[in-house]
Amino acid sequence: MPSLDDLRKRISSVKSTQKITKAMKMVAAAKLRKAQEMAEKGRPFSDKMDLIIQNLSKAINDPSNAPKLLVGTGEDKTHLCVVMTADRGLCGGFNTNICKLAKKYFDEAIKSSKNLKIITVGTKGLDQLKREYGQYIIKRITLKDKKKLSFLDAEEIGKQIVELFKNNEFDKCFIFYNKFKNVISQIPQQQQVIPAKIENKNKNDEEVSSYEFEPDEDEILDDLLPKNISTQIFKAFLENSASEQGSRMTAMDNATRNAGDLVDKLTINYNRSRQAAITKELIEIISGAESL
């Protein structure tokens, strides 16, 4: 049985923890609103970009000459995985969920004897992956010192990926990130960026063929595809940062509530042992008086 003093100390320490988690929750809520806004604003850009690429890829007559970024190298040997996580912890299962999905995929890839290359974005993912998959990690990117994510950061990473692709370092590229569904649920996603996914819709075929290209299709694609990769990465950034804040908010809300419960429990314990001590003293006095 802990002494009264111990209990008092514990109660006050839990209370101050509660204050911290509460403050973190409020900060996350404020940041979430901003991140969500940005994610929503960024969506039209990537949607339209997707649309244009879909239209363009339909217009290509000769797939064998098409840019490799669009159709792939034709091989499926080396996979590049970009795992995007947060730079900070205390956000519930956010980082773990991405890593879990990524690890599952890594194991499959290794099993089917594919070469694996990993780029980690964000330090938390690196921490979780480096022990098991350390030898596969070829690049570590951290954006810790960036206050606000801009498109330029995404472009930087996109350029590095395209550079690697041009050097024939890999055949397929996937990005792993959390998709923001709502505050309480974020869905870890695996998305293929190279080669670009082409949906087969035939309904607009006639209309598409009448596009005028200036200069020709190939040159436009050469210009557009690297941009598309940056755009996808930027989209993943935005979704990720909204998810991170949402996840942190929920985690901190739970922590605050748990701390409240704990304080209640400890207070009852404290009061009981105080009462027990008083009763004990009284019994001692009474039995002492009786024995006289």
């Binding site: 940005m38 039209p44 244009i52 472009e155 436009i220 755009t231």
Partner: protein, 129 residues
């Protein structure tokens, strides 16, 4: 007959313009072009220059690169480096010109990069007048 069409100018951060306009002049990669209503479907990309929008009011934007699609009387301009000319003028343009010029003198530049760079300098000089 309706003489205007939809224009969407979108950057990764926000939608800059989404309205009905009469005409838009864009610095397409192979030369300046003006898009009017009922233009044939078109996909092209941009070199550095100025986009002139003639809509409910006159708007001008500076772009470095971008992608343009026109179909069904909707013009979509996607660019990550687009700023309205008024905001752009507040920056130190002479400094950007100097930087661009020094980049242009580098040897390892491809012809395409040189082409883009020289257009950037031309446009900047024009703005700076």
């Amino acid at each position: 007959m309706e003489k205007n069409f939809n224009l969407d100018i979108i950057s990764p951060e926000s939608i800059l313009i989404s309205e009905k306009v009469n005409s838009v002049t864009i610095p397409s990669f192979e030369g300046e072009m003006t898009v009017l209503v009922d233009h044939i479907p078109l996909i092209t990309f941009l070199r550095p220059g100025i986009i002139k929008v003639d809509g409910s009011k006159q708007n001008q934007f500076f772009v470095e690169e971008g992608t343009v699609e026109f179909s069904n009387n909707t013009l979509i301009i996607l660019s990550s480096t687009i700023t309205s000319l008024e905001n752009f003028k507040n920056q130190n343009i002479s400094k950007i010109i100097e930087e661009s010029k020094s980049q242009l003198t580098q040897d390892n530049l491809s012809d395409k990069a040189k082409y883009i760079m020289s257009h950037k300098i031309d446009t900047l000089l024009k703005i700076n007048q």
